[in-house]
């Protein structure tokens, strides 16, 4: 059937590039990962929007200034900020090709991340213990969803970080591992950016309300 449509003597038309031009492996990874982060941004925007809508619906339950402990939040914020700078130092060591230094800074970053998670889980358990669990009011549901989603991101960031430490330990600072570390760098700093929104709009403005 298809032979019939091609006039005799004519070359078969080519509708695609036969010899693809060379792409570096992972040449578009960073842009792709950035686009993922932007879509993640939309998830958080929706959670912030629902918190903004439900943030005043206490259903006669506890209000933000009664349950939020700002010193604890300040401690948590400093943990995340410190983990950001230590990850930055890991990236600098990576650029210099210092393997052990990279591993050391990654480990410290992971510990700060764990400290952040530990404090957050402590805060959650205290809240639930006080009867201010997610079922209590729309405000608390929105609060637990927003802050919990951020905490979940940090959890997966730590899992990713440990995975990369194993990878780097086995294969060294090869190009692929450098790319992965750069992706995690974007992810980790992005989580810190989201946390700025959380401590400002949820905690600080919540206490002021």
């Amino acid at each position: 059937m298809s032979e019939a449509t091609i006039p005799p003597g004519a070359e078969a038309p080519i509708f695609y590039e036969t010899d693809e031009h060379h792409h570096d492996a992972g040449g578009s990874t960073m842009l792709g990962f950035w686009l993922y982060l932007m879509s993640d941004c939309l998830i958080f925007a929706m959670l912030f929007a629902s918190y903004g809508v439900f943030g005043g619906s206490y259903a006669g339950g506890p209000q933000p200034h009664e349950i939020f402990k700002l010193p604890l939040v300040a401690l948590n914020t400093s943990m995340l900020l410190l983990s950001s700078i230590t990850y930055g130092f890991a990236m600098l060591s990576m650029n210099d090709g210092k393997l052990r230094s990279v591993q050391g800074w990654l480990a410290i970053t992971g510990l700060f991340g764990l400290a952040f998670l530990g404090i957050e889980l402590y805060e959650f358990s205290e809240l639930i213990h006080e009867g201010a669990g997610p079922q209590r009011s729309a405000f608390l549901s929105a609060f637990f969803t927003l802050v919990g989603t951020h905490g979940l991101h940090v959890t997966f960031g730590i899992i990713w970080l440990v995975t990369l430490m194993v990878q780097v330990g086995r294969k060294g600072l090869i190009d692929a591992n450098q790319r992965r570390l750069q992706c995690l760098s974007l992810f980790w700093h992005f989580l810190d950016v989201i946390w700025i929104g959380v401590f400002t709009f949820v905690y600080l403005l919540g206490v002021l309300r």
């Binding site: 060379h22 570096d24 992972g26 040449g27 960073m30 842009l31 950035w34 686009l35 932007m38 941004c41 939309l42 925007a45 929706m46 912030f48 929007a49 629902s50 903004g52 809508v53 619906s57 206490y58 259903a59 006669g60 700002l70 010193p71 939040v73 300040a74 914020t77 400093s78 900020l81 950001s84 700078i85 930055g88 130092f89 990236m91 600098l92 650029n95 190009d175 450098q178 790319r179 750069q182 974007l186 700093h189 992005f190 810190d192 950016v193 700025i196 929104g197 401590f199 400002t200 709009f201 600080l204 403005l205 206490v207 002021l208 309300r209």
Partner: protein, 126 residues
């Protein structure tokens, strides 16, 4: 040719995903600490009596700190990936702004237009 591009591959990545210098990270960190400490200090001490002014200052500090993080930690600039990261970011900011402003605006009006007796304040009195 293929081998040649491979040899330069690393440098290309470096320009595609710019990495900061130690100075960048330190500046970013110091600025972040200041921009975090001041809002916390303002709210916890309650120096400014009018909470609306405090809220305004806190929000401005948050916006500035987000920009600081973007520049010094995420190394955003108009050149990375030929400007595509910046384009994606601007698009996201527009969508996020529409979603946030739209949701809050619509829902605020719906709350305001609730039937009397259905608002939470009246419910509490019932």
């Amino acid at each position: 040719m293929s081998a040649d591009t491979h040899g330069h591959g690393h440098d290309d990545h470096a320009s595609g995903a710019p990495h900061g210098t130690r100075k960048d990270y330190i500046i970013g960190f110091v600025l972040s600490v200041i921009l975090t400490a001041i809002p916390f200090g303002l709210v916890m001490s309650g120096i400014i009596a009018d909470t609306r002014i405090t809220a305004g200052i806190v929000m401005v500090f948050a916006l500035v700190q987000i920009v600081v993080h973007m520049v010094y930690f995420l190394h955003m600039n108009s050149k990375s990936e030929n400007g595509w990261t910046l384009m994606a970011l601007i698009f996201t900011i527009i969508v996020v702004t529409i979603c946030l402003a739209g949701s809050l605006w619509v829902m605020f009006h719906m709350n305001a237009n609730m039937m009397p007796g259905m608002t939470s304040g009246d419910m509490a009195g019932m």
